[in-house]
Every structure is written in structure tokens, then in C-alpha cells.
């Protein structure tokens, strides 16, 4: 055995954090509010669950300040399933994030669905062992989050609406901006970085890779198997489904159907079969009637 074997194993490295998200690719991450729902999600083939007290649709309905969930509730879900468990902190609320890390959640979502705690700063995500996923509506926002240490990005969409229109808008925006960077020469990348309000090194990396340096999922409005397959065909590496499952008529069936359509997103026959006889979808909200103050995607800077 060589001497390198004596080196202490290193936790919390960028590779371990980003690598965790790589393992989730092609999968569906589902919002759950109880251990029972978590088990339904796991049995349906979810790759991870997001533990929270209220799904976004209920946060919308109830109003008020939305915060990190009760540790008891999160631990109950950690106990119930063997797949990874994620949980949400408020934007900039690094103490909530510290609490979530201490509970042993596998990923922290610094989420616009909760009421922001800081209107200028996001949490310094490099200072955590637990990896973070953050939302973004465009490339500049995604790169600012990655600069702060996010190990995974999700396009924001508009959570709790059951309307995929904003998810499509944000994912297309990110993909288009990446494609545009591909065409730039070295001279132009400095100005592009300024325009994107993102570090030059990251902008250069994206221009070279033709993709983000971390995994990109889609979120905010996926309610049907076809919605999930749409986001995959548009370039999302996986999907978050929030209210869409447990606000529907037959959650177990819909959850399994969305998993199938996410894997075989490019096979319309399988998406068709998955779409059959699912019962009632969540009702949904038209995003163009949402007042500005109720648009979660505007939160984050």
C-alpha cells in the first residue's frame, strides 16, 4: 500500500458536492410534507425528496412568512426513506442552512419559495459541507449562485402554480445564453461577464463546456408526465416536482408516471402511456394573472 493511503479522507469537496447531483440526473425530485408521502415518492421511483411543511401551492394560499421546516418533521422524513433528502432554507438565512446541515440533510435548497431573509446577499455556500441547489431565471443568476458555492442549479419556474410556462421560459433563457456564449471569442467574454454580472472565469468555463459546470434541473410548474418530458427535451437533466404530485387526485400513480416520462422523455409512446388515466391534475394558476409580489421567481439577486 502506498503512503497516499494515509492521507485523511476529505469531505465536502466541490467534486463530492457536484458529484452528488450527477447521481440524481435523469431523475425526479419530489416535494413531500409527511413521512408517508416520502415513502410514496420513494416507491414511485423518486431519486430524492424535498422535505417541507407546506408545498408551494399551499404557501401561496396561506400567505404569511414561509420559513425552514420543523427539524422533527425533516428528521421523520430522513428516517422514513433511504433515498436522499433535501430541505429548504430561506435565501440568505445561513443559520437555517446550518441547522439543516446539522440535521444531516443531503442537499440544501436555498429557495425563493420561502420568504427571503436577506434582500442583498445569498448564503456563502462554500462554507458548508452539505451541498446547495439554487434557483435561477437566467445564466447570470445561475453563475452568481455557482460563484457563491451552489453545486446544482434548477431553473426557477413559478412554484405552486402547476403552470409550466415560467419553467420553459427560464430554462430556454439559460440554454440560449449558454449557446450565445459558445459563439463568442476571448475578447468578447470579458464584456459578456460584465453583462451577465458573473465572474469571468465561470463565464469562460461555460463558453468552453457549452453547459453549466454543475447539474441543471428544472423546477416550478411541472404537473404532468408530458411537462416533465418537455423540460427534459428542452435540456433539463432532471426535474423537481413540487405541488404537482400531492395536490393531484392520485399521487402514487402520478408520481410513477412522471418518473417514467422523465426517463423516456424522448419516446412519445411511453409518455402517452404514462399520461393515461391519471385522475385529476392540480388545478393550476395562470401566471400572467399573478401580481408581481406573488411571483417567487423575482426573489433572489
Amino acid at each position: 500500500m502506498s503512503t497516499t493511503d494515509n492521507q485523511a479522507p476529505e469531505t465536502g469537496t466541490a467534486r463530492v458536492k457536484r458529484g452528488m447531483a450527477e447521481q440524481l440526473k435523469g431523475g425526479v425530485i419530489m416535494d413531500v410534507v409527511t413521512p408517508e408521502q416520502a415513502k410514496i415518492a420513494e416507491d414511485a421511483g423518486a431519486v430524492a425528496v424535498m422535505a417541507l411543511e407546506r408545498v408551494p401551492a399551499d404557501i401561496r394560499k396561506d400567505g404569511g412568512v414561509a420559513r425552514m421546516s420543523d427539524p422533527d418533521m425533516i428528521e421523520g422524513i430522513i428516517e422514513a426513506v433511504s433515498i436522499p433528502v433535501m430541505a429548504k432554507s430561506r435565501i440568505g438565512h445561513f443559520v437555517e442552512a446550518q441547522v439543516l446541515q446539522s440535521l444531516g440533510v443531503d442537499y440544501i435548497d436555498e429557495s425563493e419559495v420561502l420568504t427571503p431573509a436577506d434582500e442583498v446577499n445569498h448564503s456563502d455556500k462554500w462554507s458548508f459541507t452539505t451541498p446547495f441547489v439554487c434557483g435561477a431565471t437566467n445564466l447570470g443568476e445561475a453563475l452568481r449562485r455557482i460563484a457563491e458555492g451552489a453545486a446544482m442549479i434548477r431553473s426557477k419556474g413559478e412554484a405552486g402554480t402547476g403552470n409550466v410556462v415560467e419553467a420553459v421560459r427560464h430554462l430556454r433563457q439559460i440554454k440560449n445564453e449558454i449557446a450565445r456564449l459558445r459563439g463568442f471569442d476571448n475578447h468578447e467574454l470579458y464584456a459578456a461577464a460584465k453583462e451577465l454580472r458573473a465572474p469571468y472565469e465561470l463565464v469562460k468555463e461555460v463558453a468552453e463546456l457549452g453547459k453549466l459546470p454543475v447539474v441543471l434541473f428544472s423546477a416550478g410548474g411541472v404537473a404532468t408526465p408530458a411537462d416533465a418530458a418537455l423540460m427534459r427535451q428542452l435540456g433539463a437533466e432532471g426535474v423537481f416536482v413540487g405541488s404537482g404530485i400531492f395536490k393531484s387526485g392520485d399521487p402514487a400513480k402520478r408520481a410513477a408516471a412522471i418518473v417514467k416520462a422523465t426517463t423516456f422523455y424522448d419516446d412519445p409512446k411511453i409518455v402517452a402511456d404514462a399520461s393515461r388515466n391519471l385522475g385529476e391534475a392540480m388545478v393550476g394558476i395562470n401566471c400572467d394573472t399573478l401580481p408581481e409580489t406573488e411571483r417567487y421567481a423575482n426573489r433572489g439577486w
Partner: protein, 201 residues
């Protein structure tokens, strides 16, 4: 001799990284989701991902039985992390209904190294891989509790078995596909080559 064609089971997980690593190790790499795609490959990689999800989808879409048949028939197969779990004849604490392909006489403990907070990188000496130790990336990784007489232990970390080979089946707890070091994939591509042309051994 033509280049071996190696599939990566693409139901869920870090498929792209394996495709890249296999191509770098001079194989023709392609994703496999259907039985007819499985029939066309000389070897198969079972990627990292969620073993419960991959197992469910494999059963649901009718690839589990064809996978078992091909592995029994001697097709070379390499599993990383979740893929290692899929190759275990026995899982210590399976989720209800979680099935494996099997192929290696070993008992595997899922998430044995802990949750994501405990995921780590460490240098690992792997038998059959020459030069510097491999950079082991362990993500909610399993370990092997014990192996049967037919299985050879290729690597250990802190007293736990993390790489095993039995005949044409290879498994690692860690993810060489995330490192840019393609020596473990090269070892597997050699196994596939040797299997295609036994006379060249």
C-alpha cells in the same frame, strides 16, 4: 480487431460521465434503455445513481430479466456505486421490492459510508490498476460486507471492501467516471476485449 461497443444503462444516473470515460478508454460507448439496445453491446456499465430508482425502472421496462440473462451468460459488466449494489447477489438492507441483477457473490450495505455530509474523496489502491492510487470519490457510497470464494477483492478503504471482481463482473463503491482518470474504465474495456476474442488471451 474492431472497437468494442459498450453500453451504459441509461435509466437514471451519471450516464454521460461514463460514456465520456469509455470513449476516452477507446470503446464505442452508447446509452442502453431497452432490451433490444442491450442485445447489441459487448459489455455494459451500470452507472451511479439511485439504486432503488434504477431497479424499479429496470423491472418496469422489461430490462431486468434480459440484464440477468446477459450477465449470467458472461457479458462483461461494471457497476459503480448504485451499479455495485445492482451487481450484488445480496443487499443487506434492501428497500421493499428492491431487486438486483446479481452476478457477484457479495453482500453489499447501502449508504454504508453515511449520508452526503460524510461523502469523501480518498486515494485508493486498486489491484490491476498500475501507477498512482486511484482518486476515489465516494458519494453516499456502499461498501461490501463480505465476498464469497469466487469473488476477488481489488481494493479496500479503512478496512472496508470497495472494489470487487468476479469473472467478467467488476464493481467499485467509488466513481472513477467523475475524476477524469480513465484507468479503471480502461481495465474494464480490456475485460470486454478479452471476452470478445478469447483466443487472444
Amino acid at each position: 480487431m474492431s472497437t468494442p461497443v459498450i453500453g451504459v444503462l441509461a435509466l437514471q444516473g451519471d450516464v454521460r460521465e461514463h460514456l465520456t470515460a469509455l470513449a476516452a478508454a477507446d470503446a464505442v460507448a452508447r446509452p442502453v434503455r431497452r432490451p433490444e439496445e442491450l442485445a447489441e453491446v459487448d459489455g455494459l456499465v451500470l452507472p451511479g445513481g439511485e439504486s432503488t430508482t434504477i431497479s424499479k425502472l429496470a423491472v418496469l421496462f422489461g430490462v431486468m430479466e434480459p440484464l440477468r440473462a446477459r450477465v449470467r451468460g458472461g457479458m462483461p459488466v461494471y457497476g459503480t456505486c448504485a451499479g455495485m449494489i445492482m451487481l450484488a447477489d445480496k443487499i443487506l438492507d434492501p428497500r421493499s421490492g428492491q431487486e438486483t441483477i446479481g452476478g457477484i457473490d457479495m453482500i453489499v450495505r447501502r449508504n454504508a459510508f453515511g449520508r452526503q455530509n460524510e461523502s469523501f474523496e480518498a486515494a485508493v489502491d486498486v489491484r490491476g490498476v498500475t501507477g498512482d492510487p486511484v482518486e476515489g470519490v465516494f458519494i453516499r457510497a456502499p461498501w461490501v460486507e463480505s465476498v464469497g470464494a469466487g469473488a476477488e477483492v481489488l481494493a479496500e478503504h479503512e478496512g472496508h471492501i470497495v472494489a470487487v471482481r468476479q469473472g467478467n463482473a467488476l464493481a467499485t463503491s467509488f466513481h472513477p467516471e467523475l475524476t477524469g482518470d480513465h484507468r479503471v474504465h480502461a481495465l474494464f474495456v480490456d475485460m470486454v476485449r478479452a471476452n470478445r476474442t478469447p483466443e487472444s488471451l
